[in-house]
Symmetry: C2
Subunit: 288 residues, 2 copies
DNA sequence: CGTGCCAGGTGCCTT
DNA sequence: AAGGCACTTGGCACG
Protein backbone atom coordinates (compact mmCIF):
# COMPACT_ATOMS: atom_id res chain seq x y z
CA UNK A 1 0.00 0.00 0.00
CA UNK A 2 1.32 3.37 -1.01
CA UNK A 3 -0.12 6.83 -1.16
CA UNK A 4 1.29 9.63 -3.17
CA UNK A 5 -0.15 13.04 -2.67
CA UNK A 6 0.76 16.38 -4.13
CA UNK A 7 -0.64 19.66 -2.96
CA UNK A 8 -1.38 22.40 -5.49
CA UNK A 9 0.86 20.93 -8.16
CA UNK A 10 1.57 22.66 -11.41
CA UNK A 11 -0.34 21.26 -14.34
CA UNK A 12 2.86 19.66 -15.59
CA UNK A 13 3.51 18.06 -12.23
CA UNK A 14 -0.05 16.82 -12.08
CA UNK A 15 0.33 15.27 -15.50
CA UNK A 16 3.50 13.57 -14.45
CA UNK A 17 1.90 12.09 -11.36
CA UNK A 18 -1.09 10.98 -13.36
CA UNK A 19 1.13 9.20 -15.86
CA UNK A 20 2.96 7.37 -13.11
CA UNK A 21 -0.26 6.48 -11.35
CA UNK A 22 -1.77 5.12 -14.57
CA UNK A 23 1.22 2.87 -14.99
CA UNK A 24 1.03 1.62 -11.45
CA UNK A 25 -2.67 0.95 -11.74
CA UNK A 26 -3.45 3.21 -8.82
CA UNK A 27 -6.71 4.61 -7.66
CA UNK A 28 -6.48 8.33 -8.33
CA UNK A 29 -8.22 11.36 -6.91
CA UNK A 30 -7.86 14.83 -8.37
CA UNK A 31 -9.41 17.75 -6.60
CA UNK A 32 -9.48 20.99 -8.49
CA UNK A 33 -11.32 23.78 -10.21
CA UNK A 34 -12.55 22.53 -13.54
CA UNK A 35 -15.22 22.36 -16.19
CA UNK A 36 -16.65 19.08 -17.43
CA UNK A 37 -18.00 18.12 -20.82
CA UNK A 38 -19.70 14.89 -21.72
CA UNK A 39 -21.03 13.52 -24.96
CA UNK A 40 -22.39 10.09 -25.71
CA UNK A 41 -25.81 8.64 -25.02
CA UNK A 42 -26.64 12.18 -24.04
CA UNK A 43 -24.52 15.32 -23.77
CA UNK A 44 -23.79 17.69 -20.92
CA UNK A 45 -21.84 20.73 -19.89
CA UNK A 46 -20.79 21.62 -16.38
CA UNK A 47 -19.50 25.09 -15.63
CA UNK A 48 -16.45 25.92 -13.59
CA UNK A 49 -16.26 24.80 -9.99
CA UNK A 50 -14.35 22.71 -7.48
CA UNK A 51 -14.89 19.00 -8.05
CA UNK A 52 -13.41 15.70 -7.02
CA UNK A 53 -12.38 13.51 -9.93
CA UNK A 54 -11.84 9.84 -9.23
CA UNK A 55 -10.04 7.69 -11.77
CA UNK A 56 -10.08 3.96 -11.20
CA UNK A 57 -7.68 1.46 -12.72
CA UNK A 58 -10.62 -0.45 -14.19
CA UNK A 59 -11.45 2.55 -16.34
CA UNK A 60 -14.21 4.05 -14.25
CA UNK A 61 -14.22 7.82 -13.87
CA UNK A 62 -16.34 9.77 -11.41
CA UNK A 63 -16.82 13.50 -11.04
CA UNK A 64 -18.27 14.43 -7.67
CA UNK A 65 -19.47 17.74 -6.33
CA UNK A 66 -20.15 18.35 -2.66
CA UNK A 67 -23.69 17.06 -3.06
CA UNK A 68 -25.43 13.86 -3.94
CA UNK A 69 -24.72 10.19 -3.98
CA UNK A 70 -24.61 10.15 -7.75
CA UNK A 71 -21.61 11.63 -9.56
CA UNK A 72 -22.47 14.74 -11.55
CA UNK A 73 -20.59 13.18 -14.47
CA UNK A 74 -18.94 9.84 -14.96
CA UNK A 75 -17.61 7.19 -17.25
CA UNK A 76 -18.27 3.48 -16.64
CA UNK A 77 -15.57 0.85 -16.09
CA UNK A 78 -13.85 -0.23 -19.28
CA UNK A 79 -13.17 3.29 -20.39
CA UNK A 80 -9.71 4.54 -21.23
CA UNK A 81 -8.25 7.46 -19.34
CA UNK A 82 -6.00 9.91 -21.06
CA UNK A 83 -4.26 12.89 -19.56
CA UNK A 84 -2.58 15.80 -21.26
CA UNK A 85 -1.53 19.37 -20.70
CA UNK A 86 -3.16 21.72 -23.16
CA UNK A 87 -2.58 25.40 -23.26
CA UNK A 88 -0.83 24.96 -19.98
CA UNK A 89 -3.83 23.30 -18.36
CA UNK A 90 -4.34 19.75 -17.24
CA UNK A 91 -7.00 17.85 -19.14
CA UNK A 92 -8.27 14.40 -18.39
CA UNK A 93 -10.28 12.62 -21.01
CA UNK A 94 -12.03 9.31 -20.53
CA UNK A 95 -13.34 7.52 -23.56
CA UNK A 96 -15.19 4.35 -24.33
CA UNK A 97 -16.86 2.71 -27.27
CA UNK A 98 -20.18 0.89 -27.54
CA UNK A 99 -21.69 3.20 -26.96
CA UNK A 100 -19.20 5.87 -28.00
CA UNK A 101 -18.84 8.22 -25.10
CA UNK A 102 -16.34 10.80 -24.03
CA UNK A 103 -15.83 12.62 -20.77
CA UNK A 104 -13.55 15.62 -20.71
CA UNK A 105 -12.40 17.36 -17.56
CA UNK A 106 -10.54 20.63 -18.08
CA UNK A 107 -8.71 21.79 -15.00
CA UNK A 108 -8.21 25.44 -14.32
CA UNK A 109 -6.29 24.63 -11.20
CA UNK A 110 -5.37 21.43 -9.44
CA UNK A 111 -5.72 21.73 -5.68
CA UNK A 112 -4.63 18.25 -4.85
CA UNK A 113 -3.80 14.98 -6.54
CA UNK A 114 -3.50 11.63 -4.82
CA UNK A 115 -2.66 8.20 -6.10
CA UNK A 116 -3.21 5.10 -4.01
CA UNK A 117 -2.44 1.48 -4.56
CA UNK A 118 -5.42 -0.50 -3.44
CA UNK A 119 -5.44 -4.03 -2.11
CA UNK A 120 -7.96 -6.13 -0.31
CA UNK A 121 -11.35 -7.75 -0.64
CA UNK A 122 -13.98 -6.36 -2.89
CA UNK A 123 -16.66 -8.97 -2.35
CA UNK A 124 -19.60 -7.79 -0.38
CA UNK A 125 -21.76 -10.15 1.59
CA UNK A 126 -25.26 -8.87 1.12
CA UNK A 127 -28.42 -10.06 2.84
CA UNK A 128 -32.00 -9.13 2.21
CA UNK A 129 -32.01 -9.37 -1.55
CA UNK A 130 -34.73 -10.91 -3.67
CA UNK A 131 -32.78 -14.14 -3.69
CA UNK A 132 -33.16 -14.34 0.08
CA UNK A 133 -36.87 -13.83 -0.34
CA UNK A 134 -36.95 -16.69 -2.80
CA UNK A 135 -35.12 -18.93 -0.35
CA UNK A 136 -37.67 -18.06 2.26
CA UNK A 137 -40.55 -18.93 -0.06
CA UNK A 138 -38.97 -22.22 -1.07
CA UNK A 139 -38.40 -23.18 2.52
CA UNK A 140 -41.96 -22.39 3.50
CA UNK A 141 -44.12 -22.80 0.40
CA UNK A 142 -47.28 -22.73 2.50
CA UNK A 143 -46.75 -18.99 2.83
CA UNK A 144 -47.82 -18.66 -0.82
CA UNK A 145 -50.92 -20.80 -0.55
CA UNK A 146 -52.06 -23.67 1.71
CA UNK A 147 -51.02 -26.51 -0.60
CA UNK A 148 -48.49 -24.74 -2.78
CA UNK A 149 -45.65 -26.82 -4.12
CA UNK A 150 -42.76 -25.16 -5.96
CA UNK A 151 -41.74 -26.87 -9.17
CA UNK A 152 -38.98 -24.66 -10.50
CA UNK A 153 -37.30 -21.29 -10.17
CA UNK A 154 -36.39 -18.95 -12.99
CA UNK A 155 -38.65 -21.05 -15.21
CA UNK A 156 -38.31 -19.80 -18.75
CA UNK A 157 -41.36 -18.52 -20.59
CA UNK A 158 -41.88 -16.54 -23.77
CA UNK A 159 -42.19 -13.45 -21.60
CA UNK A 160 -39.10 -14.09 -19.53
CA UNK A 161 -38.11 -16.09 -16.47
CA UNK A 162 -40.72 -16.73 -13.76
CA UNK A 163 -39.28 -16.30 -10.26
CA UNK A 164 -41.05 -19.30 -8.77
CA UNK A 165 -43.34 -21.66 -10.62
CA UNK A 166 -45.41 -24.36 -8.93
CA UNK A 167 -48.77 -25.95 -8.42
CA UNK A 168 -51.45 -25.38 -5.80
CA UNK A 169 -53.40 -28.01 -3.90
CA UNK A 170 -55.84 -28.28 -6.80
CA UNK A 171 -52.98 -29.04 -9.15
CA UNK A 172 -53.35 -25.71 -10.91
CA UNK A 173 -50.21 -23.92 -12.08
CA UNK A 174 -49.09 -20.94 -10.01
CA UNK A 175 -46.83 -18.14 -11.20
CA UNK A 176 -45.06 -16.31 -8.39
CA UNK A 177 -43.32 -12.96 -8.79
CA UNK A 178 -41.07 -11.84 -5.96
CA UNK A 179 -40.31 -8.26 -4.97
CA UNK A 180 -38.14 -7.36 -2.03
CA UNK A 181 -39.87 -4.05 -1.48
CA UNK A 182 -43.16 -2.24 -1.88
CA UNK A 183 -44.24 -2.36 -5.50
CA UNK A 184 -46.18 -0.30 -7.98
CA UNK A 185 -48.23 -1.11 -11.07
CA UNK A 186 -45.23 -2.18 -13.11
CA UNK A 187 -44.79 -5.31 -11.01
CA UNK A 188 -48.38 -6.31 -11.67
CA UNK A 189 -47.77 -5.87 -15.37
CA UNK A 190 -44.72 -8.05 -15.14
CA UNK A 191 -46.66 -10.78 -13.36
CA UNK A 192 -49.48 -10.47 -15.90
CA UNK A 193 -47.05 -11.02 -18.78
CA UNK A 194 -45.68 -14.15 -17.15
CA UNK A 195 -49.12 -15.54 -16.39
CA UNK A 196 -50.25 -14.88 -19.95
CA UNK A 197 -47.14 -16.56 -21.31
CA UNK A 198 -47.62 -19.65 -19.17
CA UNK A 199 -51.30 -19.74 -20.04
CA UNK A 200 -50.54 -19.56 -23.77
CA UNK A 201 -47.93 -22.22 -23.34
CA UNK A 202 -50.25 -24.59 -21.50
CA UNK A 203 -53.15 -24.01 -23.85
CA UNK A 204 -50.89 -24.89 -26.74
CA UNK A 205 -50.64 -21.37 -28.06
CA UNK A 206 -52.33 -21.72 -31.43
CA UNK A 207 -52.77 -25.45 -31.39
CA UNK A 208 -56.25 -26.80 -31.35
CA UNK A 209 -57.86 -27.33 -27.98
CA UNK A 210 -61.43 -28.16 -27.11
CA UNK A 211 -63.16 -25.08 -25.77
CA UNK A 212 -63.53 -26.37 -22.29
CA UNK A 213 -59.85 -27.26 -22.11
CA UNK A 214 -58.78 -23.79 -23.16
CA UNK A 215 -61.21 -22.20 -20.80
CA UNK A 216 -60.00 -24.35 -17.95
CA UNK A 217 -56.38 -23.57 -18.62
CA UNK A 218 -57.24 -19.92 -18.95
CA UNK A 219 -58.67 -19.61 -15.53
CA UNK A 220 -56.45 -22.12 -13.84
CA UNK A 221 -53.11 -20.29 -14.11
CA UNK A 222 -52.85 -18.35 -10.91
CA UNK A 223 -50.70 -15.30 -10.36
CA UNK A 224 -49.21 -14.45 -7.00
CA UNK A 225 -47.30 -11.30 -6.22
CA UNK A 226 -45.07 -11.62 -3.19
CA UNK A 227 -44.03 -8.26 -1.78
CA UNK A 228 -44.00 -6.49 1.57
CA UNK A 229 -46.76 -4.18 0.36
CA UNK A 230 -48.49 -2.68 -2.67
CA UNK A 231 -49.45 0.80 -3.76
CA UNK A 232 -53.17 1.42 -4.20
CA UNK A 233 -52.98 1.38 -7.96
CA UNK A 234 -51.03 -1.81 -7.92
CA UNK A 235 -53.61 -3.39 -5.63
CA UNK A 236 -56.41 -2.32 -7.96
CA UNK A 237 -54.64 -3.68 -10.99
CA UNK A 238 -53.88 -6.91 -9.17
CA UNK A 239 -57.52 -7.31 -8.24
CA UNK A 240 -58.60 -6.59 -11.81
CA UNK A 241 -56.39 -9.37 -13.06
CA UNK A 242 -57.58 -11.72 -10.37
CA UNK A 243 -54.15 -12.22 -8.90
CA UNK A 244 -53.21 -12.63 -5.28
CA UNK A 245 -50.90 -10.69 -3.01
CA UNK A 246 -48.83 -12.33 -0.31
CA UNK A 247 -47.41 -9.83 2.13
CA UNK A 248 -43.87 -10.98 2.65
CA UNK A 249 -40.45 -9.43 2.52
CA UNK A 250 -36.85 -10.58 2.77
CA UNK A 251 -36.28 -12.60 5.93
CA UNK A 252 -34.67 -11.41 9.18
CA UNK A 253 -35.84 -7.83 8.96
CA UNK A 254 -32.72 -5.88 8.35
CA UNK A 255 -34.28 -3.14 10.41
CA UNK A 256 -33.44 -4.95 13.58
CA UNK A 257 -29.79 -5.35 12.86
CA UNK A 258 -29.61 -1.62 12.35
CA UNK A 259 -29.73 -1.34 16.08
CA UNK A 260 -26.69 -3.54 16.40
CA UNK A 261 -24.74 -0.99 14.41
CA UNK A 262 -26.49 2.03 15.78
CA UNK A 263 -25.96 0.81 19.30
CA UNK A 264 -22.34 1.50 18.92
CA UNK A 265 -23.16 3.81 21.74
CA UNK A 266 -21.16 4.55 24.72
CA UNK A 267 -19.41 2.09 26.85
CA UNK A 268 -16.05 3.39 26.03
CA UNK A 269 -13.34 5.79 26.91
CA UNK A 270 -12.53 7.44 23.68
CA UNK A 271 -13.22 10.52 21.71
CA UNK A 272 -16.05 11.07 19.35
CA UNK A 273 -17.89 13.73 17.48
CA UNK A 274 -20.85 13.95 15.20
CA UNK A 275 -21.97 16.06 12.31
CA UNK A 276 -25.68 16.58 11.98
CA UNK A 277 -26.48 17.29 8.41
CA UNK A 278 -30.09 16.48 7.79
CA UNK A 279 -31.39 18.51 10.65
CA UNK A 280 -30.01 21.77 11.84
CA UNK A 281 -27.14 22.51 9.55
CA UNK A 282 -23.67 21.49 10.55
CA UNK A 283 -23.77 22.13 14.21
CA UNK A 284 -21.63 19.49 15.84
CA UNK A 285 -22.63 16.91 18.34
CA UNK A 286 -25.73 15.55 19.95
CA UNK A 287 -24.19 12.41 21.37
CA UNK A 288 -22.13 11.56 24.36
CA UNK B 1 -10.87 27.11 -1.41
CA UNK B 2 -8.70 25.18 1.01
CA UNK B 3 -7.34 21.69 1.13
CA UNK B 4 -6.14 19.99 4.24
CA UNK B 5 -4.41 16.70 3.85
CA UNK B 6 -2.76 14.46 6.36
CA UNK B 7 -0.66 11.46 5.48
CA UNK B 8 -0.83 8.34 7.61
CA UNK B 9 -2.31 10.15 10.60
CA UNK B 10 -2.86 8.48 13.92
CA UNK B 11 -6.44 7.57 14.58
CA UNK B 12 -6.66 10.42 17.04
CA UNK B 13 -5.29 12.87 14.53
CA UNK B 14 -7.69 11.59 11.91
CA UNK B 15 -10.59 12.10 14.29
CA UNK B 16 -9.48 15.60 15.01
CA UNK B 17 -9.29 16.49 11.35
CA UNK B 18 -12.66 14.91 10.73
CA UNK B 19 -14.24 16.97 13.47
CA UNK B 20 -12.83 20.16 12.06
CA UNK B 21 -13.86 19.25 8.55
CA UNK B 22 -17.40 18.47 9.69
CA UNK B 23 -17.64 21.87 11.24
CA UNK B 24 -16.35 23.60 8.14
CA UNK B 25 -18.75 21.67 5.92
CA UNK B 26 -15.91 20.27 3.87
CA UNK B 27 -15.90 17.49 1.38
CA UNK B 28 -13.85 14.73 2.99
CA UNK B 29 -11.93 11.78 1.64
CA UNK B 30 -10.48 9.09 3.85
CA UNK B 31 -8.30 6.43 2.34
CA UNK B 32 -7.47 3.52 4.56
CA UNK B 33 -7.65 -0.12 5.45
CA UNK B 34 -11.06 -0.86 6.86
CA UNK B 35 -14.10 -3.08 7.17
CA UNK B 36 -17.58 -1.89 6.38
CA UNK B 37 -20.92 -2.90 7.84
CA UNK B 38 -24.30 -1.81 6.63
CA UNK B 39 -27.79 -2.47 7.89
CA UNK B 40 -31.04 -0.98 6.75
CA UNK B 41 -33.17 -1.80 3.74
CA UNK B 42 -30.77 -4.71 3.42
CA UNK B 43 -27.64 -5.64 5.34
CA UNK B 44 -24.06 -6.23 4.29
CA UNK B 45 -20.59 -6.98 5.48
CA UNK B 46 -17.37 -6.09 3.73
CA UNK B 47 -14.10 -7.64 4.84
CA UNK B 48 -10.88 -5.80 5.40
CA UNK B 49 -9.27 -3.94 2.52
CA UNK B 50 -8.12 -0.55 1.27
CA UNK B 51 -11.03 1.70 0.41
CA UNK B 52 -11.76 5.31 -0.31
CA UNK B 53 -14.42 6.81 1.93
CA UNK B 54 -16.04 10.02 0.78
CA UNK B 55 -18.07 12.08 3.21
CA UNK B 56 -20.09 14.92 1.79
CA UNK B 57 -21.43 17.88 3.75
CA UNK B 58 -24.94 17.05 2.55
CA UNK B 59 -24.77 13.77 4.43
CA UNK B 60 -23.88 11.47 1.58
CA UNK B 61 -21.29 8.79 2.28
CA UNK B 62 -19.59 6.67 -0.37
CA UNK B 63 -17.25 3.72 0.05
CA UNK B 64 -15.30 3.01 -3.11
CA UNK B 65 -12.98 0.17 -4.00
CA UNK B 66 -10.67 0.26 -7.00
CA UNK B 67 -13.44 -1.11 -9.21
CA UNK B 68 -16.82 -0.08 -10.47
CA UNK B 69 -18.83 3.03 -10.94
CA UNK B 70 -21.10 2.13 -8.05
CA UNK B 71 -19.80 2.46 -4.50
CA UNK B 72 -19.50 -0.86 -2.71
CA UNK B 73 -21.35 0.70 0.23
CA UNK B 74 -22.98 4.05 0.71
CA UNK B 75 -25.40 6.24 2.54
CA UNK B 76 -27.66 8.71 0.72
CA UNK B 77 -27.66 12.48 1.28
CA UNK B 78 -29.46 13.53 4.43
CA UNK B 79 -27.59 11.11 6.61
CA UNK B 80 -25.67 12.17 9.66
CA UNK B 81 -21.97 11.45 9.90
CA UNK B 82 -20.40 10.60 13.19
CA UNK B 83 -16.77 9.89 13.92
CA UNK B 84 -15.19 8.37 16.97
CA UNK B 85 -12.10 6.56 18.12
CA UNK B 86 -12.93 3.20 19.57
CA UNK B 87 -10.40 0.82 20.97
CA UNK B 88 -7.82 3.09 19.47
CA UNK B 89 -9.32 2.84 16.00
CA UNK B 90 -11.10 5.42 13.93
CA UNK B 91 -14.74 4.66 13.23
CA UNK B 92 -17.04 6.57 10.99
CA UNK B 93 -20.73 5.96 11.25
CA UNK B 94 -23.36 7.41 8.97
CA UNK B 95 -26.97 7.13 10.00
CA UNK B 96 -30.31 8.09 8.62
CA UNK B 97 -33.95 7.51 9.40
CA UNK B 98 -36.87 6.71 7.12
CA UNK B 99 -35.78 4.21 6.35
CA UNK B 100 -33.54 3.56 9.33
CA UNK B 101 -30.12 2.76 7.96
CA UNK B 102 -26.64 2.71 9.36
CA UNK B 103 -23.29 2.51 7.70
CA UNK B 104 -20.26 1.77 9.83
CA UNK B 105 -16.69 2.01 8.63
CA UNK B 106 -14.08 0.64 11.00
CA UNK B 107 -10.57 1.73 10.13
CA UNK B 108 -7.64 -0.47 10.85
CA UNK B 109 -5.30 2.13 9.49
CA UNK B 110 -5.78 5.51 7.89
CA UNK B 111 -3.45 6.05 4.96
CA UNK B 112 -4.61 9.51 4.10
CA UNK B 113 -7.29 11.98 5.01
CA UNK B 114 -8.19 15.09 3.06
CA UNK B 115 -10.73 17.81 3.63
CA UNK B 116 -11.66 20.27 0.94
CA UNK B 117 -13.90 23.27 0.88
CA UNK B 118 -15.90 23.16 -2.29
CA UNK B 119 -17.26 26.10 -4.21
CA UNK B 120 -18.71 26.54 -7.63
CA UNK B 121 -21.54 25.52 -9.90
CA UNK B 122 -23.35 22.26 -9.42
CA UNK B 123 -25.95 22.63 -12.12
CA UNK B 124 -25.44 20.41 -15.08
CA UNK B 125 -26.75 21.33 -18.49
CA UNK B 126 -27.95 18.08 -19.96
CA UNK B 127 -29.20 17.45 -23.48
CA UNK B 128 -30.79 14.38 -24.95
CA UNK B 129 -33.25 13.59 -22.18
CA UNK B 130 -36.84 12.54 -22.62
CA UNK B 131 -37.88 16.14 -22.23
CA UNK B 132 -35.91 17.03 -25.36
CA UNK B 133 -37.69 14.24 -27.17
CA UNK B 134 -41.02 15.70 -26.08
CA UNK B 135 -40.00 19.09 -27.37
CA UNK B 136 -39.14 17.54 -30.67
CA UNK B 137 -42.53 15.80 -30.89
CA UNK B 138 -44.41 18.96 -29.99
CA UNK B 139 -42.55 20.94 -32.61
CA UNK B 140 -43.22 18.39 -35.31
CA UNK B 141 -46.44 16.58 -34.38
CA UNK B 142 -46.69 15.09 -37.85
CA UNK B 143 -43.90 12.74 -36.86
CA UNK B 144 -46.43 10.89 -34.67
CA UNK B 145 -49.14 10.62 -37.30
CA UNK B 146 -50.12 12.63 -40.39
CA UNK B 147 -52.77 14.77 -38.74
CA UNK B 148 -51.74 14.49 -35.13
CA UNK B 149 -52.42 17.44 -32.89
CA UNK B 150 -51.08 17.53 -29.34
CA UNK B 151 -53.58 18.60 -26.72
CA UNK B 152 -51.65 18.35 -23.49
CA UNK B 153 -48.51 16.99 -21.87
CA UNK B 154 -48.29 15.09 -18.61
CA UNK B 155 -52.05 14.65 -18.82
CA UNK B 156 -53.24 13.04 -15.64
CA UNK B 157 -55.07 9.73 -15.78
CA UNK B 158 -56.03 7.14 -13.22
CA UNK B 159 -52.95 5.19 -14.26
CA UNK B 160 -50.56 8.11 -14.09
CA UNK B 161 -49.45 10.98 -16.33
CA UNK B 162 -49.53 10.57 -20.11
CA UNK B 163 -46.44 12.03 -21.78
CA UNK B 164 -48.29 13.54 -24.73
CA UNK B 165 -52.01 13.39 -25.28
CA UNK B 166 -53.70 14.53 -28.49
CA UNK B 167 -56.05 13.75 -31.34
CA UNK B 168 -55.43 12.34 -34.78
CA UNK B 169 -56.87 13.57 -38.06
CA UNK B 170 -60.03 11.49 -37.43
CA UNK B 171 -60.49 13.24 -34.11
CA UNK B 172 -59.69 10.10 -32.17
CA UNK B 173 -57.73 10.44 -28.94
CA UNK B 174 -54.05 9.45 -29.06
CA UNK B 175 -51.91 8.46 -26.10
CA UNK B 176 -48.20 8.93 -26.69
CA UNK B 177 -45.50 7.43 -24.50
CA UNK B 178 -41.96 8.71 -24.97
CA UNK B 179 -38.76 6.79 -24.37
CA UNK B 180 -35.33 8.19 -25.04
CA UNK B 181 -33.81 4.81 -25.69
CA UNK B 182 -34.57 1.35 -26.95
CA UNK B 183 -37.35 -0.16 -24.91
CA UNK B 184 -38.54 -3.55 -23.72
CA UNK B 185 -41.94 -4.99 -22.86
CA UNK B 186 -42.35 -2.87 -19.75
CA UNK B 187 -42.80 0.27 -21.82
CA UNK B 188 -45.60 -1.39 -23.77
CA UNK B 189 -47.26 -2.30 -20.50
CA UNK B 190 -46.97 1.29 -19.35
CA UNK B 191 -48.55 2.56 -22.56
CA UNK B 192 -51.29 -0.05 -22.26
CA UNK B 193 -52.15 1.12 -18.75
CA UNK B 194 -52.45 4.71 -19.92
CA UNK B 195 -54.56 3.79 -22.93
CA UNK B 196 -56.86 1.70 -20.77
CA UNK B 197 -57.17 4.52 -18.26
CA UNK B 198 -58.05 7.06 -20.93
CA UNK B 199 -60.47 4.63 -22.52
CA UNK B 200 -62.22 4.02 -19.20
CA UNK B 201 -62.33 7.70 -18.59
CA UNK B 202 -63.85 8.51 -21.96
CA UNK B 203 -66.35 5.69 -21.81
CA UNK B 204 -67.51 7.01 -18.48
CA UNK B 205 -65.94 4.27 -16.43
CA UNK B 206 -68.98 2.54 -15.01
CA UNK B 207 -71.55 5.00 -16.22
CA UNK B 208 -74.09 3.81 -18.66
CA UNK B 209 -73.22 4.05 -22.34
CA UNK B 210 -74.93 2.61 -25.35
CA UNK B 211 -73.04 -0.40 -26.61
CA UNK B 212 -71.99 1.24 -29.84
CA UNK B 213 -70.63 4.23 -27.98
CA UNK B 214 -68.54 2.12 -25.70
CA UNK B 215 -67.35 0.04 -28.61
CA UNK B 216 -66.41 3.13 -30.55
CA UNK B 217 -64.50 4.64 -27.70
CA UNK B 218 -62.87 1.32 -27.06
CA UNK B 219 -61.31 1.08 -30.44
CA UNK B 220 -60.75 4.75 -30.95
CA UNK B 221 -58.14 5.42 -28.27
CA UNK B 222 -54.86 4.97 -30.05
CA UNK B 223 -51.56 4.18 -28.38
CA UNK B 224 -48.26 5.34 -29.80
CA UNK B 225 -44.88 4.39 -28.44
CA UNK B 226 -42.13 6.78 -29.44
CA UNK B 227 -38.66 5.30 -29.05
CA UNK B 228 -35.53 4.87 -31.13
CA UNK B 229 -36.21 1.12 -31.32
CA UNK B 230 -37.96 -1.84 -29.71
CA UNK B 231 -36.94 -5.29 -28.62
CA UNK B 232 -38.66 -8.17 -30.39
CA UNK B 233 -40.86 -8.99 -27.45
CA UNK B 234 -41.86 -5.39 -27.09
CA UNK B 235 -42.74 -5.25 -30.78
CA UNK B 236 -44.87 -8.37 -30.46
CA UNK B 237 -46.68 -7.02 -27.43
CA UNK B 238 -47.20 -3.70 -29.15
CA UNK B 239 -48.71 -5.44 -32.16
CA UNK B 240 -50.96 -7.55 -29.93
CA UNK B 241 -52.33 -4.43 -28.34
CA UNK B 242 -52.77 -2.73 -31.68
CA UNK B 243 -50.48 0.14 -30.82
CA UNK B 244 -48.06 1.94 -33.10
CA UNK B 245 -44.35 2.53 -32.92
CA UNK B 246 -42.70 5.71 -34.09
CA UNK B 247 -38.95 5.36 -34.47
CA UNK B 248 -37.60 8.54 -32.98
CA UNK B 249 -35.02 9.49 -30.40
CA UNK B 250 -33.80 12.65 -28.71
CA UNK B 251 -32.79 15.26 -31.26
CA UNK B 252 -29.30 16.12 -32.45
CA UNK B 253 -27.78 12.71 -32.05
CA UNK B 254 -25.40 13.07 -29.20
CA UNK B 255 -23.18 10.59 -30.97
CA UNK B 256 -21.91 13.23 -33.32
CA UNK B 257 -20.85 15.65 -30.68
CA UNK B 258 -18.73 12.90 -29.21
CA UNK B 259 -16.32 13.59 -31.99
CA UNK B 260 -16.02 17.17 -30.94
CA UNK B 261 -14.69 16.01 -27.59
CA UNK B 262 -12.82 13.01 -28.91
CA UNK B 263 -11.19 15.13 -31.58
CA UNK B 264 -9.27 16.85 -28.94
CA UNK B 265 -6.48 15.38 -30.99
CA UNK B 266 -3.25 16.86 -31.77
CA UNK B 267 -2.60 20.33 -32.89
CA UNK B 268 -0.69 21.21 -29.83
CA UNK B 269 2.68 21.36 -28.27
CA UNK B 270 2.15 19.85 -24.90
CA UNK B 271 2.59 16.64 -23.06
CA UNK B 272 0.13 13.86 -22.87
CA UNK B 273 -0.22 10.28 -21.88
CA UNK B 274 -2.91 7.67 -21.95
CA UNK B 275 -3.89 4.68 -19.92
CA UNK B 276 -5.54 1.86 -21.80
CA UNK B 277 -7.65 -0.09 -19.40
CA UNK B 278 -10.21 -2.02 -21.36
CA UNK B 279 -7.75 -3.48 -23.78
CA UNK B 280 -4.25 -4.56 -23.03
CA UNK B 281 -3.74 -3.87 -19.36
CA UNK B 282 -2.16 -0.64 -18.33
CA UNK B 283 0.41 -0.18 -21.01
CA UNK B 284 0.72 3.52 -21.62
CA UNK B 285 -0.02 5.41 -24.77
CA UNK B 286 -1.42 4.79 -28.19
CA UNK B 287 -1.90 8.39 -29.15
CA UNK B 288 0.31 11.10 -30.48
C1' DC C 1 -44.25 12.31 3.04
C1' DG C 2 -45.83 8.65 -0.31
C1' DT C 3 -46.63 7.51 -5.53
C1' DG C 4 -44.99 7.47 -9.90
C1' DC C 5 -41.50 7.64 -13.29
C1' DC C 6 -37.13 8.97 -15.70
C1' DA C 7 -32.09 7.93 -15.69
C1' DG C 8 -26.21 9.08 -19.81
C1' DG C 9 -29.36 4.64 -14.79
C1' DT C 10 -25.59 0.42 -13.23
C1' DG C 11 -24.68 -4.35 -12.64
C1' DC C 12 -25.51 -9.33 -13.37
C1' DC C 13 -26.60 -13.10 -15.93
C1' DT C 14 -28.46 -15.77 -19.87
C1' DT C 15 -29.18 -16.44 -24.82
C1' DA D 1 -23.47 -8.41 -28.22
C1' DA D 2 -28.32 -8.03 -26.94
C1' DG D 3 -32.14 -8.93 -23.85
C1' DG D 4 -34.21 -9.14 -19.57
C1' DC D 5 -34.32 -7.78 -14.75
C1' DA D 6 -32.94 -6.62 -9.88
C1' DC D 7 -31.07 -2.66 -7.33
C1' DT D 8 -29.70 -0.59 -0.14
C1' DT D 9 -31.39 1.62 -7.27
C1' DG D 10 -31.02 7.54 -7.01
C1' DG D 11 -33.31 11.63 -8.24
C1' DC D 12 -37.29 14.68 -9.26
C1' DA D 13 -41.78 16.49 -9.39
C1' DC D 14 -46.41 16.30 -7.91
C1' DG D 15 -50.52 15.30 -5.02
Amino acid sequence: MTVISVHAPSHREALWELESAFERGDLITVFGRCTVSYAGRAASELGVGDRLLILKPDGAALVHTDEGRTPVNWQPPGSTHHAAVREGRLRVRSKRTNPAETLLVRFERVHQLSAMSVTGGRDLELHGSEEDLRTRVLERPELIAPGFEPVSTERETAAGPVDVFGVDDAGDPVVVELKRRRVGPDAVGQLARYVAAVRDELTGDGEFLADHEAATADDSVRGVLVAPSLTDRAADLLADRGFDHVALGPPADAGESVDALADDSDDSDDLDDSNTTAGSGSRPDESA
